[in-house]
Symmetry: C2
Subunit: 244 residues, 2 copies
């Protein structure tokens, strides 16, 4: 019997709609201890790389670290960076102060979720490092050629029943990562993305009012039609305040 | 009779699947002369702003320029910038040389599409300027908080039957745009996006081989499972070469 190889296998059929996916995909930081099979990785990375880039230069690259010694070492490095960054963030942004001292406050829940994330990062099912091959000096708009692909990646994961989150934790262990993964000098690491099957429940996407994010004409003039649809969940922007 | 207001109106129902949208959305540069109704703009911008940003800071803002004097002036400015940039690109990248001299070559078709785009940019149905409120000095990873939202925006447009393209044409008229739109000093323009109902036919998404974009472990080691699904369309990366 002939088993279907990946070059014969179409991408998976959709079970989630496009607008539904765009409006409900949220960062997932708790994963089941379950590997991501090759056909799912193929579909996720295929979708990621269909994103646009300047002049269709496709100067994005994705290093996928799932199994093996290199992957384990890379995950351990990023976990160490994440633990360091989270410790200072927890202190500087007062996660244990104000409402953070109340066990079921949003702030305390966010702190527990982050704590769990960094403590388990060394064992995530897959760590993906999106990279950018620079053809110009580093600049603030170069991300237009790599972050759209990162967003496609996270949305495609959702389409297949996975979830993930994008961080810039790599920045704290960049030299070690570059050496381990043999990155050429003209290649920048754009982010770290972790992926896995979501564990437990997770809440809705929460934002500020649409009218605070979308202007019509000059800066600050809320668009008349910028009205949240019924059922939208809201939150303040940014990290918690120490005193609240 | 009570007509449904936007706060009572859910986002549109899906007609496109999530993976299908991710893998087939391409840049659209020719638009019908047809305005985008407020409910479609609402859905598109709602989906855009559900994208993640660092610490959920939501420091992205979208200025939507559809109708009125300010919109007309902004479109004219960006059109002028685009015409200037395209003229030099056309010359520097040899769009009229090599196969560019052959009427139906991919290169000649790309040149005609760009020519049409910049010539008609002043009259696009909607121009969107995604902006970023900086809370740190300009840097190469700040785009992680605005370009995912731009990609959501382009995908949501597709979900509703619209299309668009992201460029950095604003860079050539940035001072004039900032003055016209009254941008505060700490706000960066991240891109220009044009949106409209696609006119005519457009081809598939074309990329290099997946195995050239996705590595497993160290840099350059193609992932074994990085195999294009059947029917994938390919192209070289980047702008055409003068001599081909």
């Amino acid at each position: 019997m002939h088993s279907v190889t990946l070059d014969e296998r179409p991408i998976a059929s959709d079970t989630v709609g496009l607008l539904e996916g765009l409006t409900t995909t949220r960062s997932i930081r708790r994963y089941r201890d379950e590997p991501i099979p090759p056909e799912a990785l193929r579909d996720i990375l295929f979708a990621a790389t269909r994103a646009p880039s300047g002049s269709n230069r496709q100067n994005f690259r994705f290093i996928v670290l799932a199994d093996g010694e290199i992957a384990d070492q890379a995950k351990a490095l990023v976990a160490r960076a994440a633990q360091t960054m989270w410790s200072s963030k927890r202190r500087d942004e007062g996660y244990d102060q104000g409402s953070g001292a109340v066990d079921d406050s949003p702030k305390a829940r966010m702190a527990r979720s982050m704590e769990h994330y960094v403590d388990n990062l060394a064992n995530v099912p897959a760590l993906v490092l999106p990279c950018l091959i620079r053809h110009r000096p580093a600049n603030a708009t170069e991300g237009a050629s790599v972050y759209p692909a990162c967003q496609n990646l996270l949305l495609a994961a959702r389409a297949l029943g996975y979830g993930g989150v994008l961080t810039i934790f790599h920045a704290y262990v960049e030299d070690e990562l570059r050496a381990l993964l043999e990155l050429p000098d003209d290649v920048a690491i754009a982010a770290t993305i972790t992926l896995g099957r979501p564990a437990g429940n997770h809440g809705p996407v929460r934002r500020v009012l649409l009218a605070d994010l979308v202007y019509d004409g000059v800066w600050g003039d809320a668009a008349e039609w910028a009205v949240d649809p019924p059922g939208t969940s809201h939150t303040r922007a940014g990290p918690p305040r120490p005193d609240r």
